[in-house]
């Protein structure tokens, strides 16, 4: 099911809302992406990188002890946390780094919230010999100082963004300003399925390997398709990555878990589809957290990687046409699932991912013991040890 038209629309969502200065670069990127998706040599090069560098295919682990808390439904974890750099983000950056080289550009820029995409981008840049500048909200550089150090060790320059709310959304603004100025030699390595066309489509194409592998693996392990596929949704890249292969399988429920923060009703959350309205942010039309004047409202979540007031346009579309469902998981429920997976399976997940796991506990209880649930374990929790220790009162 190809759900976008030539202008990169998904129904009324998507498209391009950018300064004219960027159109040329977006056109070039779109053309190169379309070419390379049909180029066996390019695809083989990327697949080989994934085999020998990322560690693909990632395995599936059945979470038997965790399942006991989920109404007995069988729970299968797609282990993107075992990828090099510890999350699904590497799929996208390796693809975009190869495209950057094809376009003959020598410098990449990236935004980052938690630092996971920044670390992945810095990693790809180191591997391919590209110069890398990462924009990160000043607030986040303080919250995630370990990842700032990682990026620097990898040879990237980290710029602390002091404008606006000093978080991820402002890091994206600053990256776009850099891009408008340096577009002749610079590629903007956007970290999720948002932004102007072709980013939502391109980033999806680099992550769809998650769902393609999982679909085959689930058929092998259980002899059938899962009843539901779950993933956390920040910008939506890990979710679209695992959903994509299952979109034509209409009996498979696709469930995205957004960050409910203190509760959607409190206004302090990052559940963009659940609690937002259609609008334009960062070059694309989708759901947005905004006020009556169309000003972006700050989001809140214990998870820096989900703390974003926008969401990818394809998710907005899948929501509106009813193909996927989106629910909000509050901070406390996510942290409960975080602790539970750690103690029952010996896997410390990223706090982002813990939102999907909390969703599994709910959906498992709704569907009962006959159900098979596939969860995208999008990242590992090492980066979150400090936040978790603080939350659970563990002295450091």
């Amino acid at each position: 099911m190809e759900s976008f038209d030539v202008l990169g629309h998904f129904g009324q969502y998507g498209g391009r809302f950018v300064p004219e200065a960027l159109i040329e670069a977006l056109d070039e990127l779109e053309a190169v992406h379309n070419q390379t998706q049909k180029d066996p040599e390019f695809l083989a090069e990327l697949a080989e990188l994934h085999r020998t560098y990322t560690g693909r295919p990632s395995i599936i682990t059945e979470a038997k002890r965790f399942s006991e808390h989920a109404g007995g439904a069988r729970i299968f974890l797609k282990r993107e946390d075992l990828n090099h750099t510890g999350s699904h983000k590497i799929n996208n950056v390796l693809g975009q780094a190869l495209l950057t080289k094809r376009m003959g550009k020598k410098r990449i820029i990236a935004e980052t919230g938690a630092g996971q995409h920044g670390v992945a981008a810095a990693t790809a840049a180191a591997l391919m010999g590209l110069k890398c500048v990462v924009y990160m909200g000043e607030e986040d550089t303080r919250r995630q100082s370990l990842n700032v150090a990682r990026m620097k060790l990898l040879g990237a320059e980290v710029v602390a963004v002091t404008s606006g709310s000093k978080t991820l959304k402002d890091a994206i603004n600053e990256a776009m300003r850099d891009w408008v100025t340096n577009v002749h030699d610079t590629h903007y390595m956007l970290g999720t399925v948002a932004g102007p066309h072709p980013f939502p489509t391109m980033v999806r194409d680099f992550h769809k390997v998650i769902g393609e592998e999982s679909r085959v693996q689930m058929l092998e392990i259980t002899g059938r398709l899962p009843d539901a596929v779950l993933a956390c949704v920040g910008g939506g890249s890990n979710a679209i990555g695992i959903f994509n292969a299952f979109i034509p399988d209409e009996n498979v429920r696709l469930i995205g878990l957004e960050a409910g923060g203190d509760g959607v009703e409190t206004g302090r959350h990052a559940a963009t589809i659940t609690g937002g309205t259609p609008g334009v942010l960062h070059g694309t039309r989708s759901y947005v957290l905004q006020d009556k004047n169309g000003q972006t409202v700050e989001s809140h979540s214990i998870s820096a990687g989900l703390d974003y007031p926008g969401v990818g346009p394809e998710h907005a579309y899948l929501h509106d046409v009813g193909r996927a469902e989106y629910r909000a998981i509050n901070d406390d429920a996510a942290m409960n699932a975080f602790a539970l997976l750690s103690k029952t399976e010996g896997i410390i997940p990223a706090i982002e991912t813990a939102h999907a796991l909390a969703g599994a506990l709910i959906i498992g209880n709704e569907l009962g013991p006959k159900a098979n649930l596939l969860i995208n374990l999008s990242g590992r929790g090492d980066k979150d040890v400090q936040t978790a220790a603080q939350y659970f009162g563990i002295p450091l």
Partner: protein
Amino acid sequence: MTALDSVLVKCRTENRAALIAYIPAGFPSRQGCLKVIQTLVDAGVDAIEIGFPYSDPVMDGPVIQEAADISLKAGTGAAEVFEALKVASDTGTASVVMTYWNPIERYGVEKFAASIAENGGAGVITPDLTIEESESWLAATKANSINPIYVVAPSTKDPRLARVTSKTGGFIYAASSMGVTGTRESVSIDAKDLVSRIRKVSDLPVCVGLGVSTREQAKSLAAYADGVIVGSAFIKLLLNAKDEKAGLEAVSQLAKELAIGVREGR
């Protein structure tokens, strides 16, 4: 013909460039903005651009961002934008609004165009609206007889320049260089090349903005452009002034110098 069309024709007959000044609504304060408008008019600017402050202004450098932050913190919204627009157009000066797209969509596309017209506005500059996404906007601006003003950049290729300028009304906003708003030491040579490429595909007036802050720069642009747009330079003066009175005096002085600049280019 909008008031903007008329003033640009007038400048053409006077064989000079127009001076267009940008000020965000609600900056330095709600009342302060209205005084800045009057000051600019008294100093001889030909057209006023009222900015709709926005939370995520990706085309703007640090100076306009700071002004937008100040204005938004004070609660500026559509009502204050239209108030400033009315004050500006009531002086008899051609006035337009510059806004990112989301505030328009949120307000209601048709309603926004109607409110611009009701408050005497001649048009709207939309820096992040691409022509591909413009169907409802072009219908609304046409229905309300206001100018849809698009920005083009040095990177815009000729076939696309022809397409974008064919949708534009009032004037074509030529970004002088690749980059965001803010004052620059020198205005790039890209501007001249861009203007001459636009001339080949469009008869509309071409106004150049981004980075202009001095009489000398205004003069050099006026040699080939129909208008010169100045924003950050005024805002910087207001941000750095010790009080409101000093700020207004500085704005007045710069506007007068720029007004000379646009008259001595040819």
